[in-house]
């Protein structure tokens, strides 16, 4: 094992991993984080906490992760390169390590144009692939970006995102290969609705043998409503929602779209489990964390495996 990460242990055991995520509150009330955490207890192997997702200011990912850690989770810190330069990123990596966090997801982050402070200045000193390199270098070589040694090395299980549905499609697997070369340990994908296209991408991943070097967790998001599905289809860049999803939600009848959304999500997970190279699922239930447990249960993924802690 490279790290003390529970997720790493679950994946190494060969079990089909389940992760989910929490959006932190737009305020400093720790109860808001605990409440979301409560609903996920025992249902997942790890929980991501987003880092000012869609460029909307929220409680910091590291702080929220510490609250979840106190509840017994082994959270995944999300870290975007939009808001911090290499000095602040490395400093936060050290801090997160000192606070006992074991997993990190390296992202570039949504452009601030989408957010609640569109007049902000962005940073982008480094990109997501360079952030992977940075965490790996700190962990495996014990040095900062400038080559100077660390005193006390953070041991992170390193994650990144991949979007099989963004363009240009032909470089989506080569770009994953770059992340693998940079040192990523696990991948969480963009939400999958178009299974055919995902299978195509996954086949290329397997053909190149990348699935043996990185654990791929397939992303899913249950649709809460027809409106949400339409919004995701037309307004969210890099999202691929086929018409049949819209039709199924339409056909569900009044007041039943949410249940149909959950059903589609469960079916998707079952299909994903059958695809070669898929090591787990990442359930992003946006402001709907309380439904994650039943999705995991309906997909036949409960109880979650128990894994021994490091050293025991």
């Amino acid at each position: 094992m490279k790290t003390a990460s529970r997720l790493e242990r679950v994946l190494e055991s060969g079990a089909f991993a389940v992760t989910s995520e929490c959006g932190p509150p737009r305020g400093s009330d720790p109860e808001a984080v605990r409440k979301k955490g409560e609903t996920l207890k025992g249902a997942v192997d790890a929980v991501n906490v987003t880092d000012n997702q869609t460029s909307v200011v929220r409680m910091s990912s590291i702080a929220s992760c510490v609250i979840l850690k106190q509840m017994g989770f082994d959270p995944i810190v999300q870290m975007v390169t939009r808001d911090r330069n290499r000095i602040a990123l490395q400093s936060d990596i050290l801090g997160a390590g000192a606070l006992g966090l074991n997993n990190i997801l390296c992202l570039s982050g949504d452009h601030q144009r989408f957010g609640d402070h569109p007049s902000a200045k962005n940073v982008y000193d480094i990109d997501s692939i360079q952030l992977i390199m940075t965490v790996k270098r700190m962990r495996d070589e014990g040095t900062f970006i400038n080559g100077e040694p660390l005193k006390g090395v953070p041991r992170f299980f390193i994650g990144a995102a991949a979007n099989p549905f963004a363009d240009p499609f032909e470089i989506r697997v080569p770009r994953l290969a770059k992340k693998v070369a940079a040192g990523v340990d696990f991948i969480q994908t963009q939400c999958i609705y178009n299974l055919d296209k995902f299978r195509q991408w996954m086949k290329q991943v397997v053909d190149r043998g990348l699935h043996t070097k990185v654990k791929i967790l397939a992303g899913v998001t249950p649709m809460k409503s027809l409106g949400m599905a339409r919004y995701m289809k037309t307004q969210v860049p890099g999202m691929d929602v086929p018409d049949e999803i819209i039709k199924r939600l339409q056909g569900a009848g009044k007041g039943k779209a949410a249940e149909e959304g959950i059903k589609i999500c469960v079916e998707t997970i079952q299909e994903l489990r059958e695809i070669e190279g898929v090591a787990g699922v990442h359930i992003m239930a946006i402001e709907w964390e309380e439904r994650v447990r039943e999705i995991v249960e309906a997909a036949g993924l409960l109880p979650r495996p128990t894994v021994a802690d490091e050293g025991s």
């Binding site: 000193d125 990109d127 692939i129 360079q130 963004a166 240009p168 890099g238």
Partner: protein
């Protein structure tokens, strides 16, 4: 060239409100080419200011001049004989020109009549686009002649991000994805396979604005 566009007239009128004798100084360089601050624009802006002031029932005397270049001390010197007769210089050169005026004529306020936007060029009649951010360490030989610092909204060196859809950037469907352009170009050059998967290293931004105000010294040209 440097692309600029005129400030809103209300902002300009407010800026010159306290003066009734000003020099309006254009520039025959970049801002003339992009139709923001050349001789023609000096004439137009002077008329608009006079009109605005007339509405308020106050006159303003405007001396219209257009210098060869405002980013060159030699040409800035040319108005030396008249500056003392005026209360302010409204420059419609780029930000460099305004500052050269301020540096040369220390007793006279220099006011910006344009917003200086970017380094770029014309795309078609009436449309200008950004192409360079002056980072001081060019990588165009690695990216098919398309600048990732300028053309990618996140300046990613290892793009594209997951927001690239049908050739467009996630920030706006009118913005092309810089990395889609880079990939298309590398492909047409037959370089995609060999170049794309090499990880671009951390960029040294010290040659960019981040290193503080920059200076180039050419010893071979110094006197």
């Amino acid at each position: 060239m440097i692309i600029a566009h005129r400030k809103p007239i209300d902002e300009i009128l407010k800026m010159v409100d306290r003066y009734d004798k000003i020099i309006l100084a254009g520039c025959k360089g970049c801002v003339a080419v992009c139709a923001a601050g050349g001789e023609k624009e000096v004439g137009i802006l002077a008329s608009v200011i006079r009109l605005g002031r007339k509405k308020e029932g106050r006159d303003i005397e405007i001396r219209e001049v257009t210098l060869e270049r405002q980013c060159d001390p030699e040409y800035v010197e040319q108005i030396q004989g008249i500056v003392d007769q005026y209360q302010a210089i409204l420059s419609i050169a780029c930000g460099v020109g305004v500052q050269y005026m301020a540096e040369r004529y220390k007793g006279t306020p220099a006011l910006p009549g344009v917003n200086t936007d970017f380094m770029g060029g014309a795309l078609e009649q009436g449309v200008w686009v950004e192409r360079c951010q002056g980072c001081g360490a060019c990588v165009l030989h690695l990216t098919g002649g398309i600048c990732p610092i300028t053309r990618c909204s996140k300046s990613l060196l290892n793009g594209p991000c997951g927001g690239s859809t049908k050739g467009k950037c996630e920030i706006n469907p009118d913005v092309e994805c810089g990395w889609q352009l880079i990939i298309d170009r590398l492909k047409s050059l037959g370089l995609l396979e060999t170049v794309y998967e090499e990880i671009m290293p951390y960029k040294d931004w010290s040659t960019s604005r981040d290193g503080g105000p920059r200076r180039i010294i050419r010893e071979d040209m110094r006197e």
